[in-house]
């Protein structure tokens, strides 16, 4: 026979101060765990949104970042004519030659300045991406004009329309703000390809070439024909793979968060064990009575264990609630691939919440196991005689 669960809920309610204190400890460790998971989830959402599943990024052979890659204009002309590339309405191939570098802008978080990705591209490059202007107008070819991403305009006070920012060989006027949804493009500054490559001494070469395949089947064929072309010394990867890899930028923060929540959980585990031991001692008489009534050792063990799991489970739910508002928090993290800051929003998803709850339940079970065993093992006579 089972000891009714209401016996445990009542016990927790009677000692509400101790219950609340222990629960808060567990709730905070769960909140930190959920926050760490939400950070990584938020980052990968941003990178997943940046990639177009049909697009292929061409870098020099063996290259793994746009920043450290060179593709010459000659190679670009060859790439444009490879078969399998989609055309735009005007019949021009969707192939974009781009130059990537970084500029340093002071932000509100970082007065010393953070790196922001600067991308030089031509109108076809804009067409290939899912961006639209929020305000102002696009940069014009041949002018020292740039358009900044939404996140850049929010995070860097100097990045306002009409302002000038300094990178490369001089000043650039900001003419517009663009929005690429929840994507890494919002953390970039865009300008005319020829203007920007001239500023970085990169005439006749670019960092990368972006190609759009006509359909998913030809994507693979396109990748192979680029990599196997003896005239080119290039590797091609899908945009999706390229951006997915960058999610690793959040790894140090995730590691730290998980380390801290695990250590905190050990501390809270001891605290849970502590209060459960006290409960067992205090309720010696009750345990004796339960045994006299015929409850088995197993059901008493289960009763105390479920009390501690109930406590930690509730605390876990509380921790999840504490972490939820993070969904509205935007922060930035440096990407080791683009060597610049990517703004993203925390994303507390169901998986993170579930992980938090499971974590709490495991913690409660671990902390409650020994005290529950002690309760189950009590001799009836001794238990009844206890003060």
């Amino acid at each position: 026979m089972m000891v009714p669960l209401s016996y445990n809920t009542r016990n927790l309610l009677v000692r509400k101060t101790t219950t609340l204190m222990t629960a808060s400890g567990i709730a905070l460790s769960v909140a930190i765990l959920v926050a760490s998971l939400a950070l990584v989830e938020g980052l990968s959402t941003v990178f997943a949104n940046t990639a177009n599943p049909l697009q292929l990024l061409v870098l020099r052979k063996g290259g793994d970042s746009e920043l450290g890659s060179t593709v010459s204009t000659e190679d670009f002309e060859i790439l444009r004519s490879v078969s399998g590339i989609a055309n735009d309405q005007a019949g021009q191939p969707l192939a974009s030659q781009e130059l990537v570098n970084v500029a340093n802008l002071p932000s509100s978080d970082n007065p010393k300045g953070m790196n922001v990705t600067v991308r030089g591209l031509s109108p076809v490059g804009i067409e290939m991406r899912n961006v639209h202007l929020l305000a102002g107008c696009w940069f014009q070819a041949g002018k020292r004009e740039v358009v900044v991403g939404k996140a850049v305009s929010q995070r860097y006070p100097s990045a306002r329309i009409g302002n000038h920012i300094r990178f490369g060989k001089g000043d650039w006027e900001i003419t517009g703000v663009m929005d690429g949804g929840q994507s890494a493009l919002n953390s970039e500054i865009w300008g005319d390809f020829n203007q920007i490559s001239g500023d970085y001494n990169r005439q006749d070469s670019s960092s990368s070439v972006l190609l759009r395949a006509t359909d998913p089947v030809s994507l693979d064929a396109l990748k192979h024909s680029v990599e196997d072309d003896p005239r080119l010394n290039a590797s091609a990867m899908t945009e999706r793979d390229y951006y997915q890899k960058q999610t690793a930028s959040g790894a140090p923060l995730e590691f730290l968060g998980i380390l801290v929540s695990v250590i905190m959980a050990i501390g809270s585990g001891f605290a849970t064990a502590n209060i459960m031991y006290a409960a067992v001692v205090r309720r010696g008489k009750e345990i004796g009575t339960l045994k006299t009534l015929g409850f088995s050792e197993g059901s008493i063990l289960l009763s105390f264990l479920s009390e501690s799991v109930l406590l930690s489970g509730l605390a876990g739910a509380l921790g999840c609630v504490i972490a939820l508002p993070l969904n509205w928090v935007t922060t930035g993290v440096g990407s080791t691939t683009s060597f610049s800051e990517i703004a993203f929003r925390f994303h507390v998803d169901a998986a993170a919440l579930l992980a938090g709850l499971i974590f709490a339940v495991v913690l409660g079970a671990a902390g409650g196991a020994l005290p529950a065993r002690a309760a189950a093992r009590k001799e009836i006579l001794n238990a009844l005689r206890e003060a």
């Binding site: 101790t18 808060s24 970084v102 010393k112 730290l256 250590i263 905190m264 993290v333 440096g334």
Partner: protein
């Protein structure tokens, strides 16, 4: 007490991390005299190699070398083992700037004499099984050049396990196509000062010298430069202080909880003590003292755990480029230990007040009747 020890261990570790990240920790003796000069706008922007002469003439400068990140690939770049940092430098001054690098005179001479020679850090050479004489081919990525290098020697950097290869900048220059504007450009200059105290003064003088040129510079002590990579991790300061706050709060809850329970369990004993004539304030004092002792013991165990943990974390970080300087600053220094212990004792005091006052206020009759 175990829960206090674990939590205090965490607090100690976080304090040590905060110190290493934001208060610089300590410069290694090698770093203390070094200044890094880079372009004011971004690290990836080039500076003319000719700056080297101007910097050399600044009083107090002992040695200077330009540096360019090559970023080429070695064998199969898909294998992470084959990835390492490659820098083009001036062989004559490299070891004058990095005085902490240990290398034999014969190897050093060969590095200077042979244009295609290179040197590798001990970690890198061991990782790839290189012996002096090894032929190393690097294929350029950003720079259109293929370098065929010969390993002249292996140097021992002090307490640094990163994988680095240095080669002659003249060789890179000659390998680049004739019209390439980057032939005469460098990315950074490493400057060794005569004395430690002159470092910030020299940095200022260098920046002043180039302030009006088309390529303005930013010079900073090497440690500060290394730590600027940390800002890359995101808003770590906020993250760490949030966690520190949460941990301290939890710790307070746990300790108060534990103490109230231990006082409650001994209510009857408190009654007996009072019957024997102990005053209310003496009872309060006893509870507080007990808490302080528990907190101190927990704190000591926690500090010991934290010292071990930060040492482990530091050695793990040391092989990650960019984190080397964080790793060298990550240790439970006496100051951090004292801070952590004081926090433990403070928490002991604060959490003992409520149970202590409760014990002191309970009347004898109530206390003796209590059966918990």
């Amino acid at each position: 007490m175990a829960s206090i020890a674990v939590s205090i261990c965490l607090v100690g570790l976080l304090f040590a991390l905060t110190r290493a990240l934001f208060f610089g920790g300590d410069s290694t003796p090698g770093q203390a005299k070094r200044v890094v000069v880079h372009h004011k706008v971004a690290l990836t922007q080039d500076l003319p190699v000719g700056y080297e002469r101007t910097i050399q003439e600044i009083p107090g400068v002992r040695a200077v070398t330009s540096l360019r990140w090559f970023g080429g690939t070695y064998k199969d770049p898909g294998n992470p083992k084959n990835r390492f940092a490659q820098f083009a430098i001036e062989p004559k001054t490299l070891f004058g700037v990095h005085t902490e690098y240990q290398i034999s005179q014969a190897e050093k001479d060969q590095f200077v004499a042979q244009k295609t020679a290179c040197v590798a850090s001990r970690t890198l050479a061991e990782k790839l099984g290189w012996k002096p004489g090894e032929r190393i081919t690097l294929v350029g990525g950003m720079l259109p050049a293929t370098l065929e290098l010969t390993l002249a020697g292996i140097y021992d950097p002090h307490n640094d396990t990163s994988s680095v290869l240095y080669f002659n900048r003249d060789y890179l220059r000659d390998s680049l196509p004739a019209g390439d504007p980057r032939r005469d450009m460098a990315q950074q200059f490493y400057v060794e000062a005569e004395v430690k105290d002159a470092v910030s003064d020299i940095a200022q003088r260098i920046d002043d010298a180039f302030a009006e040129s088309p390529y303005p510079t930013k010079s900073e002590p090497e440690r500060a430069f290394m730590l600027s990579f940390v800002s890359f991790l995101g808003n770590l300061k906020l993250f760490l202080s949030a966690i520190c706050g949460a941990v301290t709060f939890t710790l307070l809850l746990i300790t108060t909880n534990m103490l109230s329970m231990s006082v409650l369990e001994r209510t009857r004993e408190v009654g007996i003590l009072k019957t024997l004539g102990f005053s209310d304030s003496e009872i309060l004092g006893m509870v507080v003292a007990e808490a302080a002792v528990i907190a101190l013991l927990g704190g000591l165990v926690g500090c010991a755990l934290a010292a071990g943990l930060s040492a482990a974390l530091a050695s793990a970080m040391r092989s990650v480029p960019g984190f080397i300087s964080v790793a060298s600053g990550l240790a439970l220094s006496p100051l951090v230990a004292v801070l952590t212990l004081s926090l433990a004792i403070l928490i002991g005091f604060v959490s003992s007040i409520a149970p202590g006052v409760y014990a002191a206020r309970t009347s004898i009759a109530q206390a003796l009747q209590y059966n918990g």
